[in-house]
Subunit: 201 residues, 2 copies
């Protein structure tokens, strides 16, 4: 599956694509500016500091056309306004994901996911992840599509946590994990107990 | 270790003590009204519907004397005002636990814990829990005392999640678990990955 990496700065996208190529050994990674990347893809993963969330979505308004799946991993940490990374900002819509839903063209399918999986553990290919990804979204089919993509990553299990309004809780878990990580010097993730190994058919 | 069970209605406390006696087979369980129970104990676990949280603490003002450890497991679910159990109320102080801290006599040590462990899994003695308990509190020593008590329950590991202000996130996880539980018909709990088995010495 081809991966189009976007950045406001195409040189940084090229760097990231290079890192992905050498880490993966195989695969099709291309570099673009954000709008180009979003135009290329049917599924767009948005993972930006909250400081840039609203501006990025405004700039992607045209590129994100109806029918595309937007997986939003953004977390409104207070760090966005020079506060602590263990504190959350209050977002009027409830969450970054609900802000995204308000900003995109009608028909763009928004799922909130991937907040609690640290970059450090994702890029550490030596250790199995063994983590859950909390999915929130208003349509079960959109969550199933997101799960099918995300579960291609070994060791990630997607859990349907309900409607997009639940994203405020899933997002805030990131701040809690940052607190735990700082205390224990680890990169922790979430696992929900008592669930079957496979949740999507 | 003797356990004093309190209720607004002493008959219900007696019922609960009876259930505990027959489930545990052994142990010292006594029944009281809330103030009596709080007066008896050095460590008080407060687990009430949020609707009764503030009133209960007001009534316990005298009984909860300085030096006692208050473990607050209360969650401000919107169900308290006839809303959904998957939604949270905004508490001005930030969380039920911070409301508790504001209400108790100075010197009462407040730790927030046990929100995510369901009554159903706690009373199911056949299946190991294998869950984490998220602890929030302003003093490490208070959290260590809470952990020493809670970890007497097989299969529970206490994780220090930071200051009491983090309780708003730990409490809200309950609403997320309620959503997951309703969807998958289970009683799920939380496990944080990448942490050592034993966190308290």
């Amino acid at each position: 599956m081809p991966v189009a990496i976007g950045s406001r700065d195409p040189a940084r996208a090229e760097e990231a694509a290079g890192r992905a190529r050498s880490a993966a050994g195989t695969g099709d990674f291309s570099a673009h500016d954000n709008a180009q990347a979003a135009r290329e893809a049917d599924t767009v993963i948005l993972s930006v500091p909250f400081r840039n969330h609203s501006e990025t979505l405004a700039n992607l308004k045209e590129a994100l056309s109806p029918g595309k799946l937007l997986i939003d991993a953004t977390v409104p940490l207070a760090a966005a306004v020079s506060g602590k990374a263990t504190r959350m900002l209050g977002v009027w819509q409830g969450s970054a994901a609900e802000q995204a839903l308000e900003m995109v063209t009608q028909g763009v399918r928004v799922v909130s996911a991937l907040h609690t999986v640290s970059a450090a553990s994702l890029t550490d290919l030596e250790h199995p992840l063994g983590q859950d990804v909390l999915l929130c979204g208003d349509a079960r089919a959109d969550k199933a599509d997101a799960a099918a993509l995300i579960e291609r990553i070994d060791g990630l299990r997607c859990v349907d946590c309900g409607r997009l309004e639940m994203a405020r809780i899933a997002e805030s878990l990131t701040a809690l994990l940052i607190s735990v990580n700082a205390r224990y010097k680890i990169h922790s993730g979430i696992h929900l107990t008592s669930l079957p190994e496979r949740l999507w058919t």
